[in-house]
């Protein structure tokens, strides 16, 4: 009755998840695995840029041709979201992360034998990107399965993998390059990425605890084969929709998506151009490179810290507002950057940039889980990543165009900052509206429930909006219930 794929929700709030997540125990090992997996996913495309000059010399290609390798990898990683969602829903996280890790390892190892740039596009860009996309989606999904009460903290810790691995991979890559050249380095990097398989092995599927027997009597009523056929039918229906466009009818989802698109558009350009801007302001080359390291270092600690703060009982119910605050903070940093001329203040800017960036990324998937609930999250995140592909690819070149046209970096920061601030404010205002509408609908629905019986068929005929509203209330209720139980 409350099987997630049936999408038929029972009125009781606890049924939304179907079980009480462990919120600890082996869950922390899963978080560690997700940390590794997400770490490789986000840091590999950036860390590869260390090899570009060597590859460029050897293969005789231009710098922009080589830079495409990273772009293709990131684009495929994000675009592969929906496919990855379907696979994760079908097979669970463990085999998917192990497959992803294997694909990444193989992609790097085969790339080390390459002698043309197209070969590298295919191996690193497409195969590597597919592997990473499998990793990313599956890791996020398993966190939503293992955690509810401590989910923001778990998300913060797992997302911290990105700056940690970047800080770790950058010097390691330099060393490998000096010792083995780019070919040997890619081979060894492929080996390191096989550790994602270890991360996948840690992602044990959730087994509910024994004490949860409250709903056992109800389930005994249904026949086993009835279950199977229902599951098969519904899975078949959902599998056909790789892009489940029904999500776009969900108000909360659309708001989240718009805000996120605006953020991603402005988020990466300052990172790409920070060193160039610093050198332009007269800072020396190595000091300019330090700015990014400072940002990454601050980011590393801010993500779990943000997760911890978001977990507190004051912030957790208002996590969407906290997310919009983080975005506005990030955008404001960028807007203030052009006023900075000296190196000392640039360091301060880099630190605040790290804080803002870390806060947003610690919360970015937590907010989606909060909106969608654990069942719909895999498909939702797939849809979100494929839509985010576009601003991510368009953002830095658009910013670069601004720099070329005006010859001044300050317009880049103004553009990025204003887009992000607008996104944050949009999220803030629209979330107020969304919660207001949800409260109204909930009140109306409670009146209705008081009057008629709720059966499965009736629920199935009601609109998508109501279903989401129940789901939403259920998710929130679940949080409150779980929290009270914990206390």
């Amino acid at each position: 009755m409350f099987f997630p794929l049936n999408r038929i929700m029972s009125p009781a709030p606890k049924d939304v998840l179907g079980y009480k997540p462990p919120d600890g125990g082996w869950g922390w090992m899963v978080v560690f695995g997700a940390h590794i997996s997400i770490g490789f996913a986000y840091s590999t495309p950036k860390a590869l840029s260390i090899f570009f000059k060597e590859i460029q010399m050897d293969l005789g290609a231009s710098y922009s041709e080589i830079a495409w390798i990273s772009s293709i990898m990131l684009a495929v990683m994000y675009a592969g979201g929906p496919v990855s969602s379907v696979l994760v829903t079908r097979f669970g996280s463990r085999p998917i992360v192990m497959t992803g890790g294997l694909m990444c390892g193989v992609s790097m190892a085969t790339a080390s034998f390459g002698s043309s740039i197209i070969y590298l596009y295919f191996c690193i860009g497409i195969i590597g990107g597919c592997g990473l996309s499998l990793n990313l989606n599956a890791s996020l999904t398993i966190i939503s399965k293992y955690f509810l009460v401590k989910r923001p903290l778990a998300n913060g810790l797992a997302m911290a993998g990105s700056p940690v691995f970047l800080c770790f991979l950058a010097p390691v890559n330099q060393y490998l390059l000096a010792r083995f050249g780019w070919r040997g380095s890619l081979l060894i990097l492929g080996g390191m990425m096989l550790n994602c398989c270890v991360a996948g092995a840690l992602m044990r599927p959730v087994t509910p605890p024994d004490k949860w027997t409250a709903f056992a009597p109800q389930t005994k009523v249904e026949q086993p084969n009835e279950h199977n056929t229902k599951i098969k039918r519904n899975f078949g229906r959902n599998a056909k929709k790789f892009l489940d466009l029904s999500f776009f009818k969900d108000r909360g989802f659309v708001i989240y998506l718009i805000g996120n698109v605006m953020f991603i558009f402005g988020a990466y350009a300052p990172i790409v151009f920070l060193s160039a801007y610093a050198i332009n302001q007269g800072v020396e080359k190595y000091s300019a490179a330090y700015l990014l390291s400072i940002m990454g270092f601050v980011d590393m600690f801010i993500r779990p810290a943000t997760g911890l703060i978001a977990n507190s009982k004051w912030i957790r119910p208002r996590i969407q507002y906290f997310f919009s605050f983080a975005m506005v903070f990030n955008g404001t940093c960028h807007l203030l950057c052009p006023l900075i001329k000296s190196y000392a203040f640039l360091v301060v800017y880099a630190a605040f940039f790290g804080i803002g960036f870390g806060m947003v990324f610690a919360l970015i998937f937590e907010c989606l889980m909060d909106l969608m609930g654990s069942q719909r999250f895999p498909s939702a995140v797939g849809l979100v990543t494929i839509v985010e592909c576009f601003p991510m690819l368009l953002g830095p070149p658009a910013a670069g165009l601004l720099v070329d046209v005006f010859g001044d970096y300050k317009y880049l920061f103004f553009m990025c900052g204003s887009v992000i601030v607008t996104g944050g404010l949009f999220l803030f205002v629209m979330n107020i509206y969304n919660y207001h509408m949800l409260d109204k609908e909930k009140a109306a629905k409670n009146n209705e429930q008081g009057q008629k019986d709720t059966e499965n068929q009736d629920q199935a005929k009601t609109s998508e909006v109501e279903m989401e509203q129940t789901e939403r209330n259920g998710a929130q209720q679940d949080v409150e219930n779980a929290e009270t139980v914990e206390i």
């Binding site: 097979f91 085999p95 083995f180 050249g181 040997g184 092995a201 279950h227 599951i231 899975f235």
Partner: protein, 309 residues
């Protein structure tokens, strides 16, 4: 007649010997070639020194008669007469000592040097007494970006070594490539081994491609930018390694991954076997509540009865 022939031949012989002697004498570094032989362009460089020392770098491309002029404002003593002399590369140039007068508040010496070839380049210093010194470093345009890390390449692969002259500096006439074979730099001629080497010169850039690498190709390679005045060099180290070298760490990591994955899965299997033996009956119902996706997840936890969908 034979006696006069003998005399003539011995005189010619003596003349030849003395001429050669003169030649070797004039090419010694301590003698500045004072009298220009062929008409060269002239150039003047003057420096005024207020402190104790100053260094001036000069890039020369073509042979030139260079007048170097040093002016010193003097120190507290302000002696009316001091000795000034010139040095090249640290050694005093013979016959260059003069007495310098303190005139109009400064000491002034100048000297014309004929800079014709590479030996004439170097560090020329004018020294006032033993107190003040102005150094002129004469050199051909240096290659700016020098690669400090070695290029690593693999046996059987091709390696590309590049050299580039800055856009701000004058263009070289041509490029040469040399290889250090332990004792000296030996020029690489493509014609000698056309299948092994390939040199592509493009005004400011030059590329040396070494095909079919073997471990013997490891070593120092020099690119030389040829100007009328001389050649400036930049070196790069090439290291050729076999594929075994990165393969060893790779295999180590793969083994580590396999061991860890096996350990984790075995640990899980042993844990779930313990649970299964501990309490069996109640667990059967819980499978209804498992979220769909986790049912078929793993072979490791198959000790619990799973519904296959």
């Amino acid at each position: 007649m034979s006696a006069s022939w003998k005399q003539l031949s011995s005189q010619i012989l003596l003349l030849l010997i003395s001429c050669r002697h003169i030649n070797t004498k004039t090419s010694s570094p301590t003698q500045p070639p004072l009298a220009p032989i062929t008409p060269l362009k002239t150039d003047v460089r003057s420096i005024v020194l207020k402190g104790e020392s100053h260094t001036e770098k000069m890039e020369l491309v073509n042979p030139v008669n260079l007048t170097l002029e040093c002016t010193w404002t003097g120190n507290q003593n302000k002696l009316p007469n001091i000795t000034g002399y010139w040095r090249k590369d640290g050694e005093e140039i013979q016959n260059s000592r003069l007495s310098v007068q303190f005139h109009n508040g400064q000491y002034n010496i100048q000297q014309v040097f004929s800079i014709v070839s590479e030996e004439n380049l170097g560090n020329y210093s004018c020294v006032f007494g033993n107190e003040a010194k102005i150094s002129f470093i004469l050199e051909a345009p240096q290659i700016g970006e020098e690669r400090d890390k070695p290029i690593i390449s693999y046996v059987g692969d091709s390696a590309v070594i590049t050299c580039k002259m800055d856009d701000a500096k004058p263009m070289p006439n041509t490029w040469n490539w040399y290889r250090y074979n332990g004792t000296e730099k030996e020029q690489i001629f493509v014609a000698a081994e056309p299948h092994h080497y390939e040199i592509i010169n493009k005004e400011r850039k030059t590329r040396l491609v070494v095909h079919n690498l073997t471990e013997a190709d490891s070593g120092l390679y020099y690119c030389g930018a040829v100007y009328a005045i001389g050649t400036t060099m930049s070196h790069v180290e090439l290291k050729v390694i076999t594929f075994m070298e990165p393969l060893k760490p790779f295999i180590t990591i793969v083994v580590e991954v396999v061991v860890l994955v096996a350990a984790i899965l075995l640990y899980e299997r042993s844990q779930s076997k313990k649970k299964a033996t501990a309490g069996d009956g109640t667990t059967a119902d819980q499978k209804n509540m498992l979220p769909q996706g986790d049912d078929n997840a793993t072979e490791g936890s198959s000790s619990m009865r799973q519904r296959k969908v």
